[in-house]
């Protein structure tokens, strides 16, 4: 059978449910709107208003800040966990068991995992109560909840696994004889880590980065809940416009966000050829 035909079912599904909606969003972003209706048109007002508002820039800076910090932390934790699983745990059985342990938090929904932090971090929450009763603090620490700290904590908690899995996958593919060769050539542990394992894990890191960054760039639920509605992200702003029935404005937001995220992914792809290294 012609291999091109075999691609057809997937292509059909993707066109219908993925490419189609994106094209519609793109078209709608040029429409006009009144308070209660969409007006098919070809205007640039949505984009002009978007780029003309200083809120847009502060919101993007804020979102990039969340993405950047969360990425660095998830990478550090993800790499460490994957390294431990791949190189310190010797038996395959224990690797699988421990890997499954990592996925336990994913047995509940995103929202539950996020909201579960509230009784822990709150003013009368677990941490503050413990610190108060130990006499370590006199007044509850306010910045634990409804703050940027809380948002980043939730992101790290939610998305670290997305970093662990691909990095672990890359590390498992590293030929153990390469490590032995490095050792024989006189490299110490750190040199092996930075000059051998690190570079060879790059595809995993790149894939994990794509997951984490794109998830965070588009998030609105976590930011809304964990910042107590006090912080804005691109997703929050977009969702707000959607709720106010300003669909064309929200669509313009979505188009710009898509371009920004695709650009980030494209830059990433330049540094790592994922397809070649998989």
């Amino acid at each position: 059978m012609n291999p091109k035909l075999q691609v057809l079912p997937l292509l059909a599904i993707l066109s219908l449910f993925f490419i189609g909606p994106i094209i519609i969003i793109f078209i709608v972003s040029f429409w006009d709107y009144t308070e209660f209706s969409l007006v098919p048109d070809f205007v640039f007002t949505n984009y002009v208003e978007l780029f003309g508002s200083k809120v847009t820039y502060s919101v993007y800076i804020n979102t990039l800040k969340f993405a950047g910090i969360s990425w660095a932390i998830t990478l550090l934790i993800g790499f460490t966990v994957a390294y431990f699983l791949a190189f310190h745990v010797r038996s395959l059985r224990w690797q699988i068991v421990l890997f499954l342990v990592c996925t336990i938090p994913f047995w509940t929904s995103n929202i539950i995992r996020m909201i579960a932090w509230i009784p822990v971090l709150g003013r009368n929450g677990l941490i503050n109560k413990t610190l108060l009763s130990l006499g370590l603090i006199e007044n509850p620490i306010d910045w634990l909840l409804y703050s940027d700290f809380a948002v980043i904590l939730a992101f790290v908690h939610l998305y670290t696994l997305f970093m662990v899995v691909p990095i672990f996958n890359s590390m498992m593919r590293i030929d153990r004889s390469v490590l032995e060769a490095a050792r024989d050539a006189g490299a110490n542990g750190f040199q092996i880590l930075f000059h051998v394992i690190g570079p060879l894990s790059r595809p995993g890191i790149a894939i994990g980065t794509i997951f984490v960054v794109s998830l965070i760039m588009g998030d609105f639920v976590t930011v809304q809940a964990m910042s107590g509605g006090q912080s804005a992200s691109v997703g929050v702003a977009m969702n707000h416009k959607r709720a106010l029935l300003q669909y064309p404005a929200a669509a313009a937001d979505a188009v710009i966000l898509l371009i920004v995220v695709l650009t980030m992914v494209a830059i990433l792809m330049r540094t790592v050829n994922i397809r070649k290294e998989l």
Binding site: E35, F36, S37, L38, S53, K54, V55, S58, V59, N62, I118, P119, G122, R123, N124, D142, L145, Y146, Q224, S227, G228, G229, Q230, A232, A237, H240, A243, L244, L245
Partner: protein, 434 residues
């Protein structure tokens, strides 16, 4: 068969119908109390095949109402609960998707012009004379002053069956039949504040730094903000419900400054968020809705819907009918709406803390103690239980703010849509992102 609605109040046939359905007790009560004027009889058979599709905000789209309609009136009512904005949008953009829309008065101002709703003929509303003055001339009592904002009576009437404008005073054509309304104020945690609170200014009092919250729904949040700014003496508004750009700028400036100084713990968007903030003690003073207060109190956490000297911010909703309704469906809609105001639904709503547009008809569907507590502001003799069986208040407690006339008589401003709405929303978003 005539297509005219039967109004004569044929007691015999009503009682017979009711007995046949085995609801003799209620039917007898209704007949005995003169409620029957709204119940036509001619349609009894055909009307059972009618299905009315209603959508609207969650507060009054309760399934119990649909069940009761089936047993009392015989026809089917399908209910869909939506949020305020979606309801309004569907009325405008999908006029064929509904028969009855449950909408808030302030959105009527925006949607009436689309022409997808038809006005009610007041002569066919059997309980029209029992509807309170707020929904007729804007005055609760003859001496009341009319509040600012989109007061329901200003968008309540239209000149003719086809008019897309509002009439200046009472006419024969009613845009919506009012059903539910209430007076909103700030909710507080008296145990964590420990002193009396009497003014809207307290929301921005530095004493509550990091412990205050305001709701993040622009059209309502801006009103609460305006109540605060005016109480502080910072801004004197021409009409808080219709601010000028300068007034919007100044209001948002004061609130942005407070936000940057760390006054707010959070901004809430949903009912549950407001309950959690208050119940956990994260917030001690905030914008709140009445059932949220009840919810916090039912967890045995002290929470007061604090009456404030500057007055309340109020809201109201009503039922509108689609322009597409005619014939037997239209008659069924009138029958439904007359039934709605005849007391049973009113009782259901009032026992949750809302008010009915025709409160006196609800009295028969509430115990003397319930009526005394919810409407007259008297101390409860017994525990107060809501229609769903939850205990809301202990014996001996009184309603915050007192009686109906104490609360609705002190309305300073109604929820509204401003001329500068788009500008306001933009400024509000800047405040949230600041």
């Amino acid at each position: 068969m005539t297509k005219k609605l039967h109004h004569s109040g044929d007691k015999n046939s009503l009682t017979r119908r009711s007995v046949l359905r085995g609801v003799g007790a209620i039917g007898g009560l209704a007949a005995g109390s003169g409620l029957i004027t709204g119940f036509p009889t001619i349609w009894a058979q055909n009307i059972k095949n009618v299905t009315l599709r209603q959508f609207g905000t969650g507060v009054s789209n309760i399934n119990e109402i649909a069940k009761k309609v089936k047993s009392d009136l015989g026809f089917t009512l399908q209910m869909t609960a939506l949020d305020t904005d979606t309801t309004a949008q569907r009325v405008v953009t999908q006029p064929k998707s509904f028969d009855i829309a449950d909408i808030e008065y302030f959105t009527v101002k925006k949607i009436w012009g689309a022409g997808n709703l038809q006005p009610f003929d007041v002569r066919k509303l059997s309980n029209y004379d029992k509807i309170v003055g707020i929904f007729k001339n804007g005055k609760l009592t003859p001496t009341s002053k009319i509040a600012q904002g989109t007061a329901p009576h200003t968008v309540g009437f239209t000149e003719s069956q086809t008019s897309r404008d509002f009439a200046a005073s009472e006419t024969n054509w009613y845009t919506l039949v009012p059903t539910i309304y209430n007076a909103d104020t700030l909710g507080i945690r008296p145990d964590l504040i420990g002193r009396p609170i009497s003014s809207w200014t307290e929301l921005l009092n530095p004493e509550f730094k990091g412990k205050a919250s305001i709701l993040n729904i622009a059209s309502i949040g801006i009103m609460d903000a305006a109540m605060v700014c005016e109480a502080m003496g910072e801004i004197k508004y021409g009409d808080k419900g219709n601010m000028t750009k300068t007034e919007i700028d100044k209001t948002m400036e004061i609130f942005t400054e407070a936000k940057k100084a760390g006054q707010f713990r959070a901004f809430w968007k949903t009912f549950d968020e407001s309950v959690n903030l208050m119940a956990s003690g994260e917030v001690v003073i905030q914008s709140m809705w009445s059932p949220a207060i009840t919810k916090v109190r039912s967890m045995n956490i002290p929470c007061v819907y604090q009456p404030l000297k500057e007055g309340y911010r109020s809201w109201g909703g009503g039922l509108g009918i689609s322009r597409n309704l005619s014939g037997i469906s239209l008659e069924a809609a009138y029958e439904y709406i007359n039934w709605y105001l005849s007391g049973w639904v009113g009782g259901l709503l009032m026992r949750q803390g809302y008010y009915s547009a025709a409160p006196e008809t609800s009295k028969k569907f509430m115990s003397g103690d319930e009526w005394g507590f919810w409407f007259e502001g008297k101390a409860a003799k017994d525990d107060i239980i809501d229609p769903f069986g939850n205990k809301l208040e202990k014996a001996g407690s009184t309603r915050d703010g007192g009686s109906f006339y104490d609360r609705m008589g002190k309305v300073e401003c109604w929820n509204s849509v401003m001329k500068e709405n788009r500008y306001m929303v933009k400024k509000w978003n800047e405040f949230i992102a600041a």
